[in-house]
C-alpha cells in the first residue's frame, strides 16, 4: 500500500448468483477495500445496484471495471447480463469511466504466470496480494457449488487485468508481447 502518493481508485465488480464481490484498488498491488455482499431476497438486480451505488458514493472511484459479457466466451445468465447493462447506466450517471474486459482478456493476462483456470488465477492473485491469501477457497470439485469467496478473486482478476492493460503491473510485460 502506498501512502505518499494517493492514486486514482479503480473499482472492479463481479456479480454472482447470490450477490456480488468488489475490490477497490489504489494500484495493482494495493487493494484499498474489498468484500463479498450476499443479496438473497427478491429484486436482486435493484438491490445489487443500490449497494454498488453506495460503494461508488463512498469512494468515488475513477474507473469501474466489469466483465464484458458481449463476447461468445461469456456464459453469464440473463439476470447478470441485465445487471451489467444497468451498471453501464450507473457508471454514466455517476461520471465513472467504465472498462469492460472479457474472460479471454483475463485469461491472457494471467497466462504469463501459468494460471489458466479460475482457481489457478485465484492462487496467483493470493500470491500477488497477501491480503487475499487467507480468503482463498478450496479447489472446487465438480459436484461442489462455487464458494462465494471465489467471486472476490474474480473481481480482483478483472481489476488486475485493467491495470495490466493500462499501466505497468507484474503481468503487463507478458500481456503486451
Amino acid at each position: 500500500m502506498t501512502h505518499d502518493n494517493l492514486r486514482n481508485l479503480v473499482l472492479s465488480i463481479y456479480p454472482f448468483s447470490r450477490g456480488f464481490a468488489f475490490v477497490l484498488f489504489e494500484g495493482p498491488e494495493a487493494p484499498f477495500d474489498w468484500g463479498v455482499k450476499e443479496i438473497k431476497e427478491k429484486h436482486k438486480n435493484t438491490k445489487t445496484l443500490d449497494e454498488i451505488r453506495k460503494i461508488i458514493d463512498r469512494y468515488r472511484p475513477e474507473v469501474l471495471v466489469v466483465e464484458d459479457t458481449t463476447g461468445k466466451d461469456s456464459r453469464r445468465t440473463s439476470r447478470i447480463r441485465k445487471l451489467y447493462r444497468m451498471l453501464v447506466h450507473l457508471a454514466e450517471a455517476e461520471y465513472v469511466e467504465l472498462y469492460r474486459c472479457s474472460k479471454t482478456e483475463v485469461k491472457e493476462c494471467f497466462a504469463s504466470v501459468g494460471a489458466g483456470t479460475k482457481y489457478e488465477i485465484a492462487k496467483a492473485i493470493a500470491t500477488q496480494i497477501p491480503a487475499f491469501a487467507h480468503r482463498l477457497p478450496r479447489l472446487r470439485k465438480i459436484w461442489m457449488s462455487e464458494d462465494p469467496r471465489q467471486s472476490l478473486f474474480d473481481a480482483a482478476a478483472l481489476g488486475l487485468t485493467y491495470f495490466a492493460r493500462h499501466i505497468r503491473s507484474p503481468y503487463a510485460e507478458d500481456v503486451s508481447s
Binding site: M1, N5, F32, W34, R60, H134
Partner: protein, 122 residues
C-alpha cells in the same frame, strides 16, 4: 461533471482487513470496550485521538501521517498557515532567537511544499 469525494481518507480499515482482524479484535487490542470507536474512525465519523493513532502505529507499524492522511493534511494545512503568518511577522527580525525561529519556519514550509497535497484529491 465529475463528483468530488468528500469522504475522509483513512487506511485503518484496509490494514485491519489485510491482517484479517475484526473491529472487535482491533478495539480490544487498542484498549477500547467496543468496536464502535474503531468503526467511527474507519468511517471518518470521528477523528482519531493521539492514543488511537499511536496504538495503530504500535499494532501495524504505520505512522499516523500515513494511516490517517486526511487528518494529517488538515492539521498540516492549519499549522502551515500559522507558520507562514509567523514567518512573515519575523521577516525583519535581527535577534538571534528570531533568526533561529525563522530558520525553523523555513524548514517546516519547505517540508510541506515538497510533497503532494492529499487534500486536493479528497
Amino acid at each position: 461533471m465529475k463528483k468530488i469525494n468528500r469522504k475522509v481518507l483513512c487506511y485503518l480499515r484496509t490494514h485491519r482487513r489485510v491482517w484479517g482482524l475484526t473491529q472487535e479484535e482491533l478495539a480490544s487490542l487498542m484498549g477500547f470496550a467496543s468496536a464502535t470507536h474503531v468503526s467511527r474512525i474507519e468511517n471518518g465519523k470521528r477523528a482519531p485521538t493521539v492514543e488511537s493513532a499511536l496504538a495503530c502505529q504500535v499494532i501495524f507499524g504505520i505512522p499516523p501521517s500515513a494511516m490517517f492522511p486526511h487528518t494529517y493534511a488538515l492539521v498540516e494545512e492549519k499549522v502551515m498557515r500559522n507558520t507562514y503568518r509567523l514567518h512573515l511577522a519575523f521577516s525583519n527580525t535581527t535577534s538571534l532567537s528570531g533568526l533561529r525561529k525563522r530558520e525553523l519556519f523555513s524548514l517546516a514550509l519547505k517540508r510541506a511544499t515538497g510533497k503532494p497535497n492529499t487534500l486536493e484529491r479528497t
